[in-house]
């Protein structure tokens, strides 16, 4: 029973559009608002126990949108599904799936860190890889390759003689 049939069995055919992916993985495109319900259905009815990754694709060279891309894995059926959500590039905003799969929290934090996608409901949404005081989102297309002032935090770090003080 393929992935799309399982989803259709539960949800019928409205609310999502199937997309054919280059590598044959069943791929579905939905609206951002439909994500929590869709994700819950994926986990409970369609048996996708674990989330593989959450990332974004910056398509601003053609259209000012980001594609937020989720991928889930079902061990019992040994197959995968990919969910794509198109969000506006100026203010990318997507509900979080951290409460359904807690394994997605670092992927979401990294996606926020690299692209600036705000995950609503992910309460301490902090940066994962870049240092806290960093204001830019490096993986956006307009961010220059060499970076903007990478050594600013090192320059501003007053090398404390006394103990205490955050590095």
């Amino acid at each position: 029973m393929g992935v799309l049939e399982r989803i259709a069995a539960v949800r019928g055919t409205e609310g999502y559009t199937a997309v054919d992916a280059r590598d044959g993985t069943p791929c579905v495109r939905i609206e951002a608002s439909a994500l929590p319900a869709f994700a819950l259905m994926l986990r409970d009815e369609c048996g996708f126990e674990t989330n593989t990754f959450v990332t974004a694709i910056d398509r601003t060279e053609k259209r000012p949108v980001f594609d937020i891309c989720y991928q889930f894995l079902s061990l019992q059926h040994a197959d995968r599904v990919r969910v794509l959500i198109e969000v506006d590039a100026a203010d990318p905003r997507v509900p979080t799936i951290k409460d359904l799969w807690i394994g997605a929290s670092y992927s979401e934090r990294e996606c926020f860190d690299m692209f600036g996608v705000a995950f609503e409901g992910h309460d301490p949404l902090e940066r994962l890889l870049m240092p806290e005081g960093y204001e830019h989102h490096p993986l956006r297309k307009e961010f220059p390759h060499h970076g903007i002032e990478p050594d600013r935090l090192y320059r501003e770090w007053e090398r404390t003689r006394s103990a205490g003080g955050k590095a």
Binding site: P144, H146, G147, I148, E149, P150, D151, Y154, R155, A167
Partner: protein, 204 residues
């Protein structure tokens, strides 16, 4: 590989006692270099292979790899230093007691290596004075052992006792009793503060 520089005239007039005592102190220092392995990335694995049984730097007295800077005198920066880690690396270098030396193992620590990116320090000599650079990505362990031998030759020609007798290292330049070991910027001319800032026109 002969000595890096022939011994200059200054050593001749340093007097018999100083050179002999210097030779003894330097002999002791160079044969017991305790490395502080700052294993950051792939070079860290080659560093472990070097400490391992096949290449075995204990033949040169350098196998006591303590992980606390207080008991080490040779900092081996092995791997890619990123700007987030730069403060920690400089703090570890500051917290090592004198005399101390630095080996930049691999091209990443020597000059940023293959990463011309927004997050990598383009050569650790922007942060701290480096004594020996080791090319290679990662350098073979015998290349790093060769670097340690070169460092030993460099230590041979230092003159701690003569500086002591002539009172050279008592004072400090800034007069505040605080020394600062400035980076030697040998490979990358110091680009601290020269990176594109947010509103520079090149970005627009």
């Amino acid at each position: 590989m002969g000595s890096l520089k022939p011994v200059g005239p200054a050593a001749q007039d340093a007097g018999f006692l100083a050179t002999k005592a210097d030779a003894l102190v330097n002999w002791g220092r160079k044969n017991s270099l305790w490395p502080m392995p700052l294993g950051l990335s792939c070079c860290g694995i080659e560093l472990m292979a070097m400490i391992g049984p096949k290449f075995d730097i204990s033949r040169f007295g350098a196998e006591a790899a303590r992980f606390s800077p207080r008991q080490c005198d040779l900092l081996i920066v092995a791997g890619t230093l990123t700007w987030k880690m730069a403060q920690a690396a400089r703090t570890i270098y500051d917290q090592m007691p004198d005399p101390k030396w630095v080996i930049a193992m691999g091209v990443c620590s020597s000059s940023g290596g293959m990463y011309d990116s927004y997050a990598v320090v383009q050569g650790i000599d922007m942060l701290m004075p480096v004594d020996v650079y080791v090319p290679g990505c990662p350098p073979r362990p015998d290349a790093v052992i060769d670097a340690i031998l070169k460092l030993q030759k460099k230590i041979e020609r230092e003159s701690p006792i003569r500086d002591l007798t002539q009172g050279r290292n008592e004072g400090d330049e800034s007069g505040t009793g605080v020394f600062d070991m400035p980076p030697n910027d040998a490979v990358a001319t110091s680009r601290i503060g020269t990176f594109l800032d947010a509103d520079s026109e090149e970005l627009a």
